[in-house]
């Protein structure tokens, strides 16, 4: 299975530009030649107020409040670079809920 870069496309994230972010991420991932990564839309991680939200799976890295300027670092992470600590702001209990859902194949 490909590694996933899931970009929330529910209402709040979308109004904050998550559709554009997803398109940009697709381009950057392709430009890096990361053929094992698929950038995919996702129906909501339940952290609407902190969006746009991007979750890398199976790495289980959750990046919140993502802006266009952050995309290079996220792409670097996907290419084996460091975890982007400053975007890792989500509460651990919500992370657990969503990661369990992802573990059951809900994407």
């Amino acid at each position: 299975m490909k590694r996933l870069c899931l970009v929330c496309q529910n209402i709040d994230c979308k109004t904050r530009g998550s559709d554009k972010l997803m398109a940009e991420l697709e381009k950057k991932v392709a430009a890096k030649g990361l053929t094992d990564v698929e950038v995919k839309p996702y129906m909501c991680f339940g952290a609407c107020q902190e969006g746009p939200n991007v979750v890398l799976y199976p790495e289980k890295s959750w990046y919140a409040g993502v802006k266009a300027d952050d995309l290079d670092e996220i792409t670097e992470h996907l290419a084996g670079g460091p975890h982007v600590q400053r975007l890792d702001t989500i509460d651990s209990s919500l992370k657990e809920l969503i990661y369990q859902l992802l573990d059951t194949g809900v994407f």
Partner: protein, 419 residues
């Protein structure tokens, strides 16, 4: 039995003004305008009339909450959106007994002190719109509404508004939005419509069946009304049976009638000579009941004690040989499709639950998937503007509890144990 709303049975055609008057029609209104609005509210409260749109809220209480507001003007809205799948009761009332409904509207408007009433009617109900429009013209010509109702100082204007046909358009605050010329999106509550309703003013929004009871209560009195039904749920309720039974139709029964009577005597039993596996008393949003609850009385308290609810009376049956996973998936898909898209939490919940059910249906996700439903439902509890977000929970959680074998079988084989 003969009902009190449908004394001639539910199949008789449209009742005209003369016919309605010959059986006491509009006498309740004559009495009403001679007494005070407070006395009307007291009579309806004493009758213990509860809303028939699903929530069962006490009607007299709703009216007094509206009336006691100082803001003017106040409004009365008849909610005939009726978007619950399989519900036909309000349509039939408006088609066959438009004067009974209109008399209820006029008395309700008088009680809450509204000089404007809106009849919000499902735009697909062409026959109901026509019979209501005919009856409005007859009633106006007879002086029952308009300027100086029956010579009293009470003025009432009534306007019919066609309602869009989608599920949330029947939610009371979405009704207000549509009447104001906006999209059918529910508002955040509180404030409730009784406080801040139509155009920001106090508004009583009542279901069609609820208001159809009002003239009878005023005409015959609260005591007579309470002789039907149970102390908790007075009067009768109209139940809708669909293709699950041999005789689909709508049936008016006193509250407290055993569920078995509705299914067997009225509906002629479940179709196909099968045994009943599960009963959903308020499809598609109530908990399933197991077959051994078939003698549960049809009233609010008894249904709650049995673990489900009455809703607006659309009773759905699941027969032996039908997989509950498949059945509950249909309900879940319905809510995902009908979520209006306004509240992120509702979209998240309805879509995630549907995806989980589909994965499970295909045998994916392993045993941990069974634990995800409750977590997603709990996470979204209390979120969202309207009640739709609370609706997928009871069917799914009761299905998991009552019929774990159906879920296990899907997980184990990736196939339906039945089909």
């Amino acid at each position: 039995m003969e009902g009190i709303l449908f004394p001639r049975g539910v199949v008789a055609g449209q009742e005209g003004l003369e016919e309605y008057r010959a059986r006491g029609g509009y006498e309740a209104l004559v009495r009403a305008v001679k007494t005070t609005p407070e006395a009307i509210i007291k009579e309806v409260s004493d009758a213990a009339l509860r809303g028939r749109g699903g929530a069962g809220f006490p009607t007299g209480k709703k009216w007094s909450l509206t009336r006691e507001r100082p803001e003017q003007p106040r409004y009365l809205v008849l909610n005939g959106g009726e978007d619950e799948p399989g519900s036909k009761k309000d349509r039939l009332l408006m088609e066959n007994l438009p004067h009974l409904v209109i008399e209820g509207v006029i008395i309700a408007a008088y009680a809450v002190g509204a000089n404007k009433a809106y009849l919000y009617v499902n735009a697909n109900y062409e026959t109901a719109i026509k019979s209501t429009t005919d009856a409005l013209a007859e009633a106006k010509a007879a002086g029952y509404w308009g300027k100086a109702v029956l010579g009293d100082s009470f003025n009432l204007d009534i306007e019919l508004i066609p309602a869009p046909h989608n599920y949330v358009a029947g939610e009371d605050t979405a009704v207000l939005e549509v009447i104001e010329g906006k999209k059918a999106w529910p508002r955040q509550k509180p404030p409730f419509p009784v406080t801040v309703g139509l155009f920001g003013k106090p508004t009583a929004v009542n279901n069609v069946e609820t208001l159809a009871n009002v003239a009878l209560i005023i005409l015959h009195g609260a005591e007579w009304y309470r002789s039907f039904g149970t102390p908790d749920s007075s009067g009768t309720m109209i139940f809708s049976l669909n293709d699950d039974v041999n005789r689909p139709g709508i049936y008016e029964l006193p509250f407290g009638t055993p569920l078995r009577h509705l299914i067997e005597e009225c509906g002629g039993g479940i179709k196909g000579d099968k045994k009943i596996k599960a009963i959903m008393p308020a499809a598609p949003s109530s908990a399933y009941l197991p077959a051994d609850k078939i003698d549960t009385p049809l009233d609010h308290n008894s249904m709650r004690e049995a673990g489900s609810s009455l809703g607006c009376g659309v009773v759905h049956l699941v027969g032996e040989g039908t997989c509950v996973v498949e059945d509950v998936l249909k309900a879940s898909e319905f809510f995902a499709a009908e979520s209006c898209g306004q509240c992120p939490a509702c979209r998240m919940e309805t879509n995630t639950l549907t995806t989980l059910l589909k994965k499970l249906q295909q045998g994916q996700g392993g045993r941990p998937i069974l634990e995800q439903f409750g977590k997603v439902i709990a996470f979204n509890k209390g979120k969202g503007f309207c009640n739709l977000i609370a609706m997928p929970g009871p069917p799914i959680e009761s299905a998991l509890k009552l019929f774990p074998g159906d879920f296990e079988a899907h997980l184990a084989t990736g196939k339906c144990p039945v089909n």
